[in-house]
């Protein structure tokens, strides 16, 4: 099941670079190159081989962990990606975590009194959250909290330039600082985290509110909930039942949502010059570094597959019906 998906992912990233009028040869050869030089470079890059053979070579390289070399950084793409992965995961963890903690209770409360005032307000707010461009929100936050109020540090990087980053242990300045007891670094890293995390939390909470409400409403109108109410169980017990039965679809939804949020997050990274995977990927796309783009897209897809797997495991653990098996 997962194997055809993985082959498909590698195929899509492979085709991504080949579909267009994109020409790495022209870029490498420069404007004064002769026809023979063009041919030489093509042969050197393996572009004169038939397409299926190129794909086989590319696939083989990917399996061996060779993603090629980025011409922007002149380093193996895999090294670039590995260095930045944890930086992005840290941001994603805080952002989506807080977004979920905000979104799920609001969605539940809205569902318990559908079309009440709370529901109306939360619905408009969540639709608004859907509509705000992430990068614009980030810029406005920088304007308000950095320029006007001067509460937040400038949106450049993950730690102040005045503070030397703590020794590399996990890659997260926050955790590394705590581990090495560098409180100045911890403080600076935390301050830099606040705005991007709020941005991501707002953007991720919107769909979670909407979906949690829909799921809880569905459960509320299910036979089980109706029976529980008809039997005269106290509202608190009914709510617990609804919570329990909503948990599985909500977790599944948040899991699938993470894929899209990774894209959103790269925009936040771009605005705050975060230096993570997302900013690396966007830079590669904008500047046409296609080996890096391939590696980046591949990493994102693999990440999604891993998240889906984790969701499956969690669902298996919390699903009431799976206790029987």
């Amino acid at each position: 099941m997962a194997i055809p998906l993985l082959v498909g992912i590698v195929f899509v990233t492979f085709m991504l670079v080949r579909v267009g009028g994109l020409d790495p040869v022209g870029r490498l050869a420069g404007p004064t190159a002769t026809a023979e030089e063009f041919e030489m470079i093509r042969a050197e890059l393996g572009l004169d081989e038939p397409l299926w053979k190129q794909f086989a070579i590319y696939g083989g390289n990917v399996v061996r962990g060779d993603l090629g070399e980025s011409w922007l950084s002149n380093r193996p793409v895999l090294t670039d990606l590995k260095e930045r992965a944890f930086i992005s995961i840290e941001l994603l963890f805080w952002g989506v975590g807080i977004g979920t903690l905000i979104g799920v209770p609001i969605g539940l409360r809205a569902a318990f009194r559908p079309n009440g005032r709370f529901d109306q307000i939360s619905r408009v707010l969540s639709l608004l959250g859907f509509s705000i461009p992430t990068y614009w929100l980030g810029l406005v936050m920088l304007f308000v909290f950095f320029y006007l109020l001067q509460w937040a540090p400038p949106g450049i990087g993950r730690i102040s330039l005045m503070v030397s980053p703590p020794d590399h242990i996990t890659g997260s300045y926050l955790i590394d600082g705590l581990l090495t007891a560098r409180w100045g670094a911890v403080q600076s890293a935390a301050a830099h985290l606040v705005l991007p995390v709020i941005c991501l939390a707002i953007v991720s909470a919107a769909p979670i509110i909407k979906q949690t409400r829909a799921i809880a409403l569905e459960v509320l109108s299910s036979d089980a909930a109706r029976y529980a109410r008809a039997s005269g169980l106290p509202p608190k017990t009914v709510r617990r039942l609804v919570l329990r039965n909503s948990a599985t679809p909500v977790v599944t939804f948040v899991g699938t949502e993470i894929t899209g949020l990774v894209g959103t997050m790269s925009l936040i990274e771009y605005v705050f010059a975060w230096g993570g995977l997302g900013q690396y990927g966007l830079n590669a796309i904008v500047r046409g570094d296609f080996t890096a783009v391939q590696g980046y897209v591949l990493t994102l897809a693999l990440f999604s597959v891993i998240v889906f797997l984790i969701v499956d495991i969690i669902v298996n653990l919390i699903e009431p019906r799976s206790e029987l098996t």
């Binding site: 899509v12 406005v140 400038p154 829909a214 894209g263 783009v293």
Partner: protein
């Protein structure tokens, strides 16, 4: 809104008024304020897009070198940008891009997705299996990154942005239509159409399509909102549409550097316009979904 007998009656009375666009709209607004406010917002932007040339006080791309980065004033309501161009005029003109990209992109997505969904749902079997697997597989890629990478790889032009958004969005419509067709496939009217000797294309497009399209119409508004958002994001990153084109995303890109130096008007206003249009489309789509989904209505 809790529906009571009284509400029903009021609604009937509204429907009984002589037919006019205004009365019709009031009727809709009673049932779904979301839908109505969405319509108003969309119409306002539509008006802006169509009559931009009369509404703009200045030319959106002619620069006043002596008036660079001036704050909002009576002459320039939204101030001027780094090139000395009038931000207000540019925001109005930007509505043209919002609609100009979203409408063709959604039409393309419907034109691809709906037939695919019809055939896949009706035929079933291996074709259906392969298509659905492919669409599921595409889900592991964040849509914005895929759109960015494809536009960057296939060449940066407005046309390409439209084509790529249309293609990437077509699975949504295929999926909606397919699930409708699956539940309609063995219904009596399809069986009788088959028994009467209708060719397959006739069953698909004359008999099934009108019954299966409902879910797709609500999706169309939501997906238009998506298209507006993604195309602006592409422009913000400098992919597809380049400054000084008066497109909202491109304008936010121009305003980004001034945001931390205090010239907020360059980037804030196009962002607000963008939010409003996307918000209006989302309200409209959400309202439609509410009206059409009997299950969501039943709960209320």
């Amino acid at each position: 809104m809790a529906e009571t007998v009284g509400d029903e009656f009021k609604r009937d009375r509204a429907a009984a008024r002589p037919f006019s666009l205004k009365n019709r709209f009031i009727g809709i607004a009673r049932v779904s304020p979301t839908l109505a406010s969405g319509v108003i917002i969309i119409l306002a932007f539509g008006f802006m897009a169509v009559f931009a040339h009369w509404l703009m006080p200045h030319d959106p791309v002619s620069a006043y070198p002596e008036r660079v980065l001036k704050p909002p004033s009576a002459e320039h309501w939204f101030g001027t940008d780094g090139n000395g161009m009038d931000v207000f005029s540019r925001v109005i003109y930007g509505a043209k891009f919002g609609f100009g990209i979203a409408i063709p992109a959604v039409i393309l997505a419907v034109a691809i997705g709906v037939p695919v969904g019809l055939v896949a749902g009706y035929r079933g079997g291996l074709l259906d299996e392969v298509l659905m697997r492919f669409f599921d597989g595409l889900r592991v890629f964040p849509s914005i990154i895929l759109a960015l990478a494809v536009v960057a790889a296939t060449g940066q032009s407005l046309l390409n942005v439209v084509l790529v958004l249309g293609f990437l969005d077509s699975p949504v419509f295929a999926r909606v239509v397919r699930s409708e067709v699956l539940s309609l496939r063995s219904s009596v009217f399809v069986e009788s159409a088959k028994a009467a000797g209708n060719p397959t294309w006739r069953i698909l497009f004359i008999h099934l399509l009108p019954n299966a399209i409902q879910g797709a119409t609500a999706q169309a508004a939501v997906r238009a909102a998506w298209a507006v958002r993604i195309s602006a994001t592409l422009a913000f990153l400098g992919v597809g549409i380049q400054a000084p084109t008066p497109e909202w995303g491109a304008m936010i890109r121009q305003g980004a550097e001034f945001m931390v130096t205090g010239q907020w008007w360059v980037g804030i206003f196009p962002g607000i316009a963008l939010i409003f249009l996307v918000f209006g489309l989302n309200l409209f789509g959400d309202g439609l979904q509410d009206l059409m989904d009997p299950r969501r209505r039943a709960v209320n």
